[in-house]
């Protein structure tokens, strides 16, 4: 029986399995290709859809538990774009994301699984987009990034389902702009964000203290929504007594509305005092007359 790709790689790194042996055994790419072939069969028309396909996978691989389940993700460069919907051509042109597990991530995952082993009904699925494993409940079809027994686990619906529920992008945006809703909602959003900007997330910090990962996630989320937040804050700070609040005048700076007449250049600096008061020459009578005329005009 061939070794799973991840295990093989790890053994290679330790020098337990030689390169020749490794070549004889089927590589992870081949495993992926099997999945890719499988992938076309399901009646799903959306290529990124994972659930049905995974169901199928789990049925297929139910016996071969050592093989990794891989969540197929098209490696389309446009997939971060929320206005882009990957079509078959994307798959043809760009292929699927390669599953390249990081040894560090594997180590951490192993440590976590030792501490919090997966309960029955849960499967480990590799996500090539993030190069991380996530955990999938075959019965309820829920997913989580951590082992479901982990104290800080967030079990939620898969991102695709949420996206299908939300449907349009406009709704998604609205969800994004909502600052603090229920915890569930927040979690969903996080998952959404993860799946959408997956290629940027090279975080493989699957540590015991997942807080670090969580924080990183939050930070990224913040970065995405920052512009909007600033706008909101600006709006919130607008004084109701500010003319900008109740009319069409633009918001002014601190000097807007000050009396501009009698400026130092044309007239006397009436604000001068002390030594400055003694250093201010008056304008010439011609300048005074001109300034007066200007003031009358205004």
């Amino acid at each position: 029986m061939p070794l799973p790709a991840a295990l093989l790689e790890r053994l290679q790194k330790r020098g337990i399995v030689s390169k020749e042996e490794a070549k004889q055994t089927p590589t992870s790419e081949e495993v992926e290709e099997v999945f890719a072939e499988d992938y076309d069969d399901p009646n799903k028309d959306e290529p990124v859809e994972e659930n049905g396909e995974e169901d199928k996978d789990s049925e297929d691989d139910g016996s071969v538990s050592s093989d990794i389940l891989i969540h197929e993700v098209v490696s389309c460069p446009n997939k971060i774009n929320p206005y882009h919907e990957c079509v078959d051509y994307c798959k043809q042109r760009w292929g699927m994301c390669k599953w390249e597990p990081d040894t560090d991530m594997i180590k951490r995952r192993d440590r976590m699984l030792q501490k919090y082993p997966l309960p029955p009904g849960w499967k480990e699925v590799a996500d090539p987009a993030t190069n991380r494993y996530y955990y999938w409940n075959t019965q309820t079809d829920e997913v989580s990034w951590l082992s479901p027994l982990h104290p800080s686990v967030n079990i939620s619906q898969p991102a695709e389902k949420i996206q299908a529920l939300l449907g349009t992008i406009g709704k998604l945006d609205k969800l994004d702009s909502d600052s603090d809703d229920s915890d569930e909602d927040d979690d969903d959003r996080r998952l959404n964000g993860d799946k959408s900007d997956s290629d940027s997330s090279s975080t493989s910090s699957l540590s015991d203290s997942e807080d670090e990962y969580e924080r990183d996630r939050r930070r990224r989320q913040d970065r995405r929504g920052r512009g909007r937040q600033i706008d909101k804050r600006k709006k919130a700070e607008l004084d109701p007594m500010d003319p900008a609040a109740y009319s069409d005048v633009p918001r002014g700076s601190w000097s807007t509305g000050l009396d501009r007449r009698g400026e130092a250049k044309t007239g006397v600096d009436t604000t001068a005092s002390g030594p400055l008061f003694q250093q201010r020459p008056y304008p010439s009578p011609g300048d005074v007359l001109r300034a007066n005329k200007q003031n009358q005009k205004n």
Partner: protein
């Protein structure tokens, strides 16, 4: 003696008087002819007008008749003397804190001539601020 000195009756005349004077200091007294303070000052001005005709010329401006400068020049004293040279206001450090004008009536003719001469010499050198030969701050009065 205000009737012996030339009056300027509107802002334009004031402007022209200053513009037309090339190499003489222009002394303008802002106030009212009927004001007692101004009467004292006008007396002094009349007495020294002849003596400094080569380097200074004196005009009187009624601030009620010509209110154009009241705001800009802060003319709220009964009598105000200001100096101009080549369309430029010349400040004098009198020690009073207000370098822009003489806002009291001077009785001593020679004192006033000295001040005007200092202004003339300083202004000729391009100075905008000259120091009065005598300190008029209150600390020397008491």
């Amino acid at each position: 003696m205000s009737y012996m000195l030339q009056h300027l009756t509107n802002g334009w005349q004031v402007d022209q008087a200053i513009m037309s004077e090339e190499d003489r200091v222009l002394i303008i007294r802002f106030g009212h002819d009927w004001d007692p303070t101004c009467m004292v000052m006008d007396e002094t001005l009349y007495k020294c007008a002849e003596k400094m005709k080569n380097f200074a010329v004196i005009y009187l401006v009624d601030i009620t008749e010509v209110p154009d400068f009241n705001k800009m020049y802060e003319l709220y004293d009964p009598c105000t003397i200001m100096f101009f040279y080549r369309n430029k206001h010349i400040m004098i450090d009198l020690g009073t804190g207000n370098n822009n004008k003489i806002n009291w009536a001077m009785e001593d003719v020679q004192e006033f001539i000295d001040i005007v001469e200092t202004v003339y010499r300083g202004a000729r050198k391009g100075r905008g601020l000259v120091v009065s030969p005598k300190d008029y701050s209150t600390k020397y009065r008491y």
